[in-house]
Amino acid sequence: MFYWKGCQIGTINDNFEVALGMSRKWDAREAGREVARDVIQKLKRPPSFFLLFSTIHYEKHGGFEEFLAGVWDVLPKGTPLIGGTVAGFQNNYGCYCHGATALAVYNPHIDVAVGVGYNTKRSPKKAAFSCLKQIKDGLDHSSYSQKCIIDIISGGLVPQMLGIGRKKVLRGMTSVLALYLSSLSLYLLQKGIGREEDVLQVISDKMNDFYILHGSSMDDGKAFSNFQFCNYEVGSNMAVALGFACDAHISLFSTHNLKESVSLPRVKIIRNGVGIRKINNKPALKEFLRILNWPEEYFDEQLFKRTYFYPIGFKKNNQWISRVIAIICGNVMITTNKLEGDEFAVLSFNGKDVLQGVTDTISKHGIERPAFGLISSCAARLQALGIQSFQVHHELYSYFQDHPFILFYSGGEGSKKPHEELYYGNESFHSLVVS
């Protein structure tokens, strides 16, 4: 049992003062105040930056403007702040799918900059450049050697189409109509695929000497709405990023631990890259069901209950990158993000392998006294593991103990080490430890 009220979770060492806060209140303003107060009262000095994660529930219990206003009722004015909505989170106190959590960091030898870009679904590259400019302006003259960006980008939203509603499985003429309308929906209404990887690729290319940790903002899995926070601003379809430079040690390790299950031959991707229209020169869905020996009834509105465990993988740089099948449009399988390359397979998700992956990845850090940890993990892992997510918490707490950490469950995750390629995927786990 991990007690929260009355338990101080914070790190003070020569370089860092770090504090963790949480609120489980329902009222948005009260929750904002509580999560900020829980952090501030543990710090001796004003934070250098503040990271804020919340579940979607405050949308209907006061709204996120009220939530953020509550945070600023307590947080010192001018504190660099970013964050967003997530499906759930873990921290030193436990595993939660309702509430808010925050991490505040103070370091006397740190440079911090915050950036925001807008309209990520309509113009992802423009959003990336706008966000980056603010980070670069703030950090270009920094003399510190270790640089890191933590970013939250608005994730995909299921479009609501006239006469069709919000459905994951579309058949017949509605599927043809939906495919046609989806492009319009993306550009006009900014509802559809997230295009986070388009934003991230720009950030990765331009900030090659940075560590990057990414999470796609989401709700509770319905993909109806998501929100991002940047300083005093709340919005959607935003890319928000916090960059910092210091002389601390930073380590970053990732995994998904998915295994190749069955090969998918001769895959033809749809024009925008976010789905499969043919496998083996046959209609994709029919052939996919035949290969896996599944009945057609398996693909109903409970789609995610199946597809989380059998994501689509493609090979890139000799490793499997996974994508979850999110929508069925006739015989076309729409995935959460873009597919690439020539080699495809169905990957399998096994709870035991996933838990082992967490243990192996965390142990690679090998740091005895971390200042803090941040982990971006796919919400599909939370959905699939359910109550077994507490075993993930057990592993993380065994490593971090009373050193603050937050694992946030996102709708797409990514990471990059300096001078290495960006990894963006689904069903993955990316851990950043600073000491």
Partner: protein, 132 residues
Amino acid sequence: MRDDPIANVLDDLLKLDDILACMVARCNMISVMPNNDSFDPSVNQVWDIIKRAMDDVFGVIREYSQAGLGEMEFRLQDFETLFYIFPDTENALVAIVPALANKGLIEVEMENARREILSIMEESEKQEAITA
């Protein structure tokens, strides 16, 4: 809000969109209901049959709780009923959710509610032991 802390935990659980009904129960008895006593209207139509099925499930819980039975669930029509058993007892935290619900997230909050209720029960027993 009444002073029953367990009812307050159930109230919080009921605020989640996909929790249509929740209670602490045992065979043939509902021990604690949420404060406002109001479940989602969609449950009312199937409540009688779900209640009968619940009582049958509690028979299994009674047999195997001491052997470490942790959770049970069943699906009936468009609903799933989840049982989070209090260890070594015949009582469980019970919730009714739509069959299409994102159960992974619900499971996490059910577990948090179970832990919180257990800690309230343990605290109550300690107080009783002190005053006795």
